[in-house]
């Protein structure tokens, strides 16, 4: 569960990114975060996995207040949160299997458990036949699937995706969203920032619209759009 109360964020250069955010996301929800570039969407997302600290306010994730979380505890938090990015963030010199296994190696899982879990998630994302391929041999969609596999391999309760379809063509994007729905069906919370209007409108999930650092709309089964364009 994610809960934000009166969250403000001002960057050192004076930019106010978040201007009083209050929100509650229950376990197992699927949430789209929409808004124009520079509205505070990315900061909002980054707060959830403690990439940024709030200037004031509280952020509870899985019962832990991230505003007060010590730096040394951040790695432990990250093990319960999967993160997916627009640019995939795969290691080019590792193959598909190694890229996914990487997430388990760093938390010191045993090799046996690693093999089992990695094969499981690669099966789930439909890339079992490409485990020996390197990222540059894969299409954008396939690379994003590898990245998603890595984010869920240690069975996190929450998966946060920052414009995961931003670099993909429409058909491929649909495949990715379907994959997220599949993950959501297993009880994982999904928070996804996106600019993809068709997908948001077609799937009818909860939509949080952010503009000027504030939540301007929060609607269950909502449509794409934020204040300016949503009439």
């Amino acid at each position: 569960m994610i809960e934000m109360q009166d969250v403000y964020k001002t960057y050192p250069n004076g930019v106010v990114a978040l201007n009083g955010i209050n929100v509650r996301i229950k376990q197992g929800e699927f949430v789209y975060v929409v808004g124009p570039s520079g509205a505070g969407k990315s900061t909002f997302i980054k707060m959830m996995y403690r990439e940024e600290k709030p200037t004031s306010g509280t952020i509870m994730v899985n019962g832990v207040n991230l505003a007060k979380l010590k730096d040394s505890k951040v790695p432990l938090l990250r093990r319960h949160i999967g993160v997916v990015f627009q640019d995939f963030k795969l290691l080019p010199k590792l193959n598909v299997y190694e890229n996914v296994a990487f997430a388990l190696e760093v938390i010191e899982e045993s090799p046996k458990a690693i093999r089992k879990k990695v094969m499981e998630v690669l099966d789930l994302v439909g890339l079992k036949h490409k485990i020996r391929s390197y990222p540059n041999e894969l299409s954008g969609g396939e690379q994003q699937r590898v990245s998603i596999a890595r984010s869920i391999v240690n069975s996190p309760k929450i998966v946060i995706a920052d414009e995961p379809t931003g670099n993909l063509d429409p058909e491929t994007s649909w495949g990715i969203v379907e994959l997220f729905e599949k993950i959501n069906d297993r009880g994982t919370t999904i928070v996804m920032a996106t600019h993809n209007k068709e997908i948001v409108n077609a799937t009818r999930r909860r939509v949080i619209a952010i503009e000027n650092g504030k939540i301007v709309r929060d609607e269950a089964k909502g449509e794409y759009g934020y204040d300016a364009s949503y009439v």
Binding site: R79, K89, L91, V106, P111
Partner: protein, 297 residues
């Protein structure tokens, strides 16, 4: 840390050396060049030190006893010398022994001194050694004031100059070595910083999936260790080969009586271990310093 994890760190650090081929080469070369210079300095320094020690130990005070002194007065003199602080050893050498020594030291021409065996003009001598060579002059001055001392000889003037020169040589060498090591550390730290900069993506992903800072640091720590040791190999081999040959040639062809080189073993083994340790040290220091910046949350 589990054994699996440690093995992974070792494997990763070695793989990374290969992946960053040119950077590995650059970092190791920086270590190589530095250690080569440091190594040469060490060889020179240790030999100067060895020479200095030997000279210092050879410094002795020769106390010539008055010809008129009888054995009781000689004994009294001995006790008085022994009572001076920092006197390590007093050895008696009769005038006959002194003559023999003289003849021997003159080599082939010494035989002409045999004439004196009939009527020895030399005096009996106490050979005095100071506990610390630096005290030689002070002790000699004190002995001069004692009764039945005809003359005190300790290489006046020469000894003082030699001690001064050796002191300067040691200090200059030490400063140069320290300066060189300091430069090397920055050189290596910067090179490794570049390799880490090229890998900040890897670090970013590690942090994203929940690796602790300690976990992230390990492979870099080991990589620095390998780089330093790798860089030390060439200087060790080169210095060993050169020193071995120089030593052979010197001992067989040149060999001056007052200057001897440190024998190859164990000196070169010790120096190799020292260079390896220094290489490892600067490698680790360089990588740990550079990775720190990327671990700030």
């Amino acid at each position: 840390m589990t054994l699996h994890t440690f093995k992974r760190h070792v494997r990763e650090s070695i793989k990374s050396l290969g992946r960053n081929g040119w950077m590995t080469f650059a970092s190791a070369s920086a270590v190589t060049v530095t250690l080569l210079l440091v190594g040469v300095f060490f060889v020179v320094m240790f030999n100067i030190n060895h020479f200095a020690k030997k000279v210092e130990n050879d410094v002795e005070i020769r106390v010539h006893i008055e010809l008129t002194a009888d054995s009781r007065q000689k004994d009294a003199l001995r006790r008085q010398i022994e009572a001076i602080p920092n006197v390590k050893e007093v050895r008696y050498s009769s005038k006959d022994e002194e003559l023999k020594r003289l003849i021997k030291s003159m080599g082939d021409e010494g035989s002409s001194f045999r004439l004196f065996e009939q009527d020895n003009p030399l005096s009996d001598v106490y050979v005095v050694k100071a506990a610390h060579p630096q005290d030689t002059v002070k002790i000699a001055k004190q002995i001069e004031t004692l009764p039945f001392v005809h003359k005190v000889n300790y290489g006046q003037g020469t000894v003082e100059k030699l001690f001064d020169a050796l002191k300067v040589a040691r200090n200059v060498g030490l400063v140069l070595i320290l300066g060189l090591l300091f430069t090397a550390m920055f050189l290596i730290s910067n090179t490794i910083k570049i390799t880490i900069f090229a890998r900040r993506r890897e670090i970013e992903i590690m942090r994203l999936v929940g690796a602790t800072n300690g976990f992230i640091r390990w492979p870099f720590f080991l990589e620095g260790l390998w780089l330093g040791m790798l860089g030390a190999l060439f200087p060790i081999a080169a210095l060993s080969i050169v020193y071995y040959n120089v030593y052979q040639v010197y001992e067989q062809r040149v060999s001056l009586p007052f200057f001897e080189l440190l024998p190859f073993s164990p000196f070169m083994w010790q120096l190799s271990a020292l260079l390896l340790a220094i290489g490892a040290g600067i490698g680790i220091w360089g990588s740990v310093m550079s990775v720190r910046k990327f671990l700030k949350v």
